[in-house]
């Protein structure tokens, strides 16, 4: 690296700690790289997780006292919002690096989502739109912004919150509570569809049969369809999900890592058109919103959300992709959008085989096989052969469809479950 101008950070930061400043220490110059926020005194920067100091940003709180000596003054000079140039900046936008006041940030964030919605023509006047609500930060911010923009720009949409209850004791309870509170705050109708209602099985019951090791397969597959099935039940025209820019970029990287060219091509699409009867068109209004900005927005708006990190270990590739993306972002903050730009501009060679998207013979959901994954999983559960949906058993689809009995050998193979 080029010359890092190591400043007597400890000294400055101690002084700052006396008055109510927030010190943001960046590992690289020009406010780049990993950053650390310090609000109080600290005698050892290393303890605060700071490895090196490239640049320091000082944000002052509203009641900050006038600093005493000259050096602090230079540092603690209030940062003005780069948008209104009047108010003090409250944050530094992760996406552009600009320092903004709260109101200008809100405005920019909302306006960007609006521009995305308009540019991609995501909705039509009069549509019923289901907001996939998990109680997590993305969907909470999505619900808030959708409600606000719908009124501000008169989209003419009928919005509702759509939640899925997997039936996991103790796991969903808190997040569903959050969704219920959101419903009251936003005055949006809420519909909770349960696995039991949709599939006849709760996750708890599934875990009992398949064991902890394989339940993630079920949880992922079922959840994807649950929204569709719920949306159809409620006669919703479109579903919007809280996928943000980080999610999309991560998916691009993940599909490169596993060489999945078909998904690589599809994954940057902002909306899916309706293919097949069982599928409701979906869109991602937050596609270009940074995860960090979503958190900032929720934080400053004091939005109530529940952190719903998946309680199971994530897909291995996704885990690697996520770590890699976070590292990329720390080197060059625009990386998230850069990766999406790459994904949007990929061009696949003619003649590369793409899996044909058909529909499930049983439920009509999109599927490249005769039976969709969730129907296979259900069949397995109902027959007491949980392994049916876990490995690759395409050969058996015909038999299942025609209700033929399986051979003893086939049954034996599918029954055994390692706990």
């Amino acid at each position: 690296m080029a010359t890092e101008h190591q400043k007597p950070a400890t000294q400055q930061q101690q002084q700052a700690g006396v008055s109510s400043f927030t010190l943001v220490i960046y590992e690289q110059e020009n406010f780049q790289g990993r950053c650390h926020e310090l609000t109080g005194p600290s005698n050892n920067l290393q303890e605060a997780g700071v490895e090196k100091v490239g640049s320091i940003l000082v944000l002052c709180g509203p009641g900050a006292k006038k600093p005493g000596n000259l050096q602090t003054q230079r540092l603690a000079m209030p940062v003005l919002c780069s948008s209104c140039a009047e108010k003090r900046a409250a944050l530094k936008r992760p996406k552009t690096g600009h320092s903004l006041c709260k109101d200008c940030f809100f405005w920019a964030f909302e306006e960007e989502v609006h521009q995305t919605i308009v540019a991609a023509k995501l909705f039509k006047h009069g549509e019923i739109v289901g907001i996939a609500a998990s109680g997590g930060k993305d969907s909470t911010v999505l619900a808030h912004v959708m409600k606000l923009l719908n009124e501000r720009y008169d989209y003419g949409l009928e919005l509702m919150l759509l939640s899925v209850d997997e039936g996991i004791t103790g796991y969903r309870d808190d997040s569903l509570e959050t969704v219920k509170r959101n419903q009251q705050q936003y005055e949006l109708p809420l519909k909770i569809v349960s696995y039991e209602e949709l599939y006849g099985w709760t996750m708890d019951a599934i875990v009992k049969q398949v064991g902890l090791k394989n339940n993630c397969t079920f949880c992922g597959v079922f959840r994807r369809q649950a929204l569709d099935r719920g949306a159809i039940m409620l006669k919703v025209d479109k579903i919007c999900t809280g996928h943000n820019a980080d999610d999309v970029a991560e998916t691009v990287l993940m599909n490169v890592l596993r060489g999945d060219i078909a998904r690589l091509r599809r994954c940057t699409a902002i909306s899916t058109s309706s293919e097949g009867d069982g599928v409701v068109p979906r869109c991602k209004p937050l596609k270009y919103a940074y995860e960090k900005e979503i958190v900032l927005y929720a934080y400053f708006k004091k939005l109530d959300y529940f952190s719903t990190e998946c309680i199971y270990s994530p897909n291995a590739y996704r885990g690697y992709a996520r770590t890699f993306l976070k590292d990329l972002e720390s080197v060059r903050p625009s990386s998230i959008i850069d990766v999406i730009h790459s994904g949007e501009n990929l061009s696949v060679r003619d003649g590369v085989k793409m899996p044909v998207q058909g529909t499930c013979n049983r439920c009509g959901y999109i599927s490249s096989q005769a039976l969709c994954k969730s129907c296979v999983l259900l069949e397995g559960l109902n027959r007491g052969l949980p392994k049916l949906g876990i490995g690759k058993h395409h050969r058996l689809h015909g038999k299942i469809l025609s209700q033929q009995p399986l051979t003893e050998k086939e049954e034996r193979k599918l029954k055994a479950v390692d706990f």
Binding site: M1, A2, K7, N30, Q32, S55, L75, M77, V79, L80, S82, C84, A85, R93, K95, T96, H98, S99, A108, E111, E112, T116, A119, A120, S134, D138, T217, C219, G220, R224, L253, V256, L257, G259, I261, L264, Y288, C310, Y312, N315, A316, Y317, F324, D327, L328, R332, S334, I337, D338, V339, I340, H341, S342, G343, E344, N345, L346, S347, V348, R349
Partner: protein, 511 residues
């Protein structure tokens, strides 16, 4: 959100302990000497045959190098390109049937000036390589990267490619070649070498300033690789070569693919990583080593004593997170250690990609990036990452352009910048139009002329090269051929605007 959507777990076969089988899997007789993958064991002879065959097969499959054609081998001194050189030597010594039929030459670009090597170190490296090259009997050219300062503007214009040869032409040419002189030995022309003219110190300084004007290592590496390409292509043109062979191996290309994606070069992936790359029109870059893994090459070089020379790069001493290129490399390397299919999976992705077709080789100049010479990827629809970024930039700056803004207000923001940052830097790096306006209004952070130059230059570049430029303190350090070509393009587009109503065919720019 639960992200466990697919069960890809079975794909992630962890690295097995190499099952050491005693015999060669190919001839089933000799004792195995190398294990490339689990199950792929070769004895010495079979490994050599396999390795040599792969090289010829790659060229044979792609049918792009014609008999008698002059081909420039870009040798960096590293294991991969040195291995490529030895494969070409090997191929020329084979009997008539298997013989390679092109005329090779070697080019080495001495980047010592850019990476801060001393004159003495550079001289030593060059001497080492010269000995290596002389031994091959091929003509060779040792070019200091400093030459980039004196390149003509033609480097960044697309030269018309020779008219497309029909597929039958290749076969006919081969047949003709075999009949006429296939049997006879290709006598290398009288030993021809262009050696390293002593580089002026001022040139090295200018080069260092140019590279140093990029604030991030990511941008520096990107810039260096662009300049290297320009010198390679220029050398090929002036010395009469029509193809340039690059030594990129499979591992390297997997890293490059992921790097390109991370740098926003999705549209250019096929050119960045494919077998052949025709972005320069008349000079085609080819990557014949793309099927070999770094490991195979290391084995081969060690077994058959192919020597290589260690050449330090910009990131030689850098940490993992020093640049995107470096980060990606360490990421792929680590993942490959755990999951041996990583590199080949990523690499296979590159085979399924193609260049966005925009009237291919004769594409209008205005559609080409000023730096990387790929088709521009910035004319995108409104709902796109590029437009979204522009909107974010705009929304984060003054709302009403006409709003009165005083100099003091502008400056109050400034002091948070660290001392070492030159005043002009903070302004230009924020990159927006407002910055120019503030300057014009007396803020004086940078001259508006300089800024508009950056803005204009950017409009001539692809998404990713714009990122690189954004990381530079000033575009003034860019070599003259790039700047003057930019001016030429701007003049042309102005002209075109003036006469636009009289032009019947929009696509025909007349270049």
């Amino acid at each position: 959100m639960c992200q466990v959507d697919e069960d890809y777990h079975d794909q992630l076969e962890h690295a097995d302990a190499p099952s050491v089988s005693k015999k060669c899997a190919k001839c089933k007789e000799a004792t195995a000497a190398v294990v490339i993958r689990a199950g792929d064991t070769y004895c010495r002879d079979c490994f050599k045959e396999y390795f040599i065959h792969k090289f010829r097969a790659m060229l044979g499959k792609n049918r792009i190098i014609f008999p008698g054609e002059k081909v420039l081998l870009a040798v960096s001194g590293g294991p991969s390109s040195c291995s490529m050189l030895s494969q070409v030597q090997e191929g020329l010594s084979q009997n008539a049937h298997k013989k390679l039929r092109f005329l090779p030459g070697i080019v080495y670009i001495d980047e010592g000036g850019a990476v801060g090597q001393s004159v003495e170190e550079r001289r030593r490296t060059v001497a080492e390589l010269r000995a290596l090259f002389r031994a091959t009997g091929f003509p060779f050219h040792i070019v200091p990267l400093e030459q980039v300062l004196d390149l003509p503007g033609s480097v960044v214009t697309v030269a018309p490619s020779p008219s497309e040869q029909p597929a039958s032409a290749y076969k006919a040419a081969v047949d003709h070649f075999i009949q006429s002189d296939g049997g006879s030995r290709l006598t290398p022309q009288e030993e021809q070498e262009t050696s390293h003219p002593d580089v002026q110190e001022s040139h090295t300084q200018s080069l260092q300033q140019l590279i140093g004007s990029a604030k991030t290592l990511t941008a520096r590496e990107d810039l260096l690789s662009t300049l290297r390409h320009h010198v390679l292509v220029h050398t090929a043109r002036t010395e009469g070569y029509s193809k340039v062979m690059l030594g990129d191996n499979c591992t390297r290309l997997a890293v490059k693919l992921l790097t390109s994606i991370s740098l926003g070069r999705g549209a250019q992936l096929a050119q960045d990583t494919g077998f052949s790359d025709s972005r320069y029109g008349d000079i085609i870059l080819v990557r014949p080593m793309r099927d070999y893994s770094a490991k195979e090459i290391a084995y081969y070089n060690r077994m058959f004593t192919v020597s290589s020379v260690f050449i330090p790069g910009l990131d030689t001493m850098a940490t993992d997170k020093a640049s995107i290129q470096r980060l990606t490399e360490s990421f792929v390397t680590k993942l490959q250690a755990g999951f041996p299919s990583t590199v080949s999976t990523i690499y296979r992705t590159s085979e399924k990609l193609q260049t966005v077709c925009r009237s291919s080789s004769t594409a209008d100049l205005f559609d080409r990036c000023l730096l990387c010479m790929c088709a521009l990827d910035t004319a995108v629809e409104d709902a796109s990452a590029f437009k979204a970024t522009q909107i974010s930039e705009k929304l984060s700056q003054t709302k009403s352009p006409g709003a009165p803004r005083t100099k003091t207000q502008r400056q109050i923001q400034a002091p948070v910048e660290s001392e070492s940052t030159a005043p002009s830097r903070q302004c230009c790096s924020s990159g927006g139009e407002n910055c120019g306006r503030a300057a014009a209004g007396g803020g004086g952070c940078c001259s508006s002329a300089k800024l508009s130059e950056t803005t204009n230059l950017k409009s001539l570049m692809c998404y990713s090269c714009q990122l690189t430029i954004k990381d530079m303190t000033s575009v003034e350090r860019l070599p003259q051929y790039i700047l003057s070509e930019a001016q030429r393009r701007q003049r042309r587009s102005q002209m075109r605007e003036e006469i636009s109503e009289f032009l019947l065919d929009e696509g025909d720019g007349g270049d």
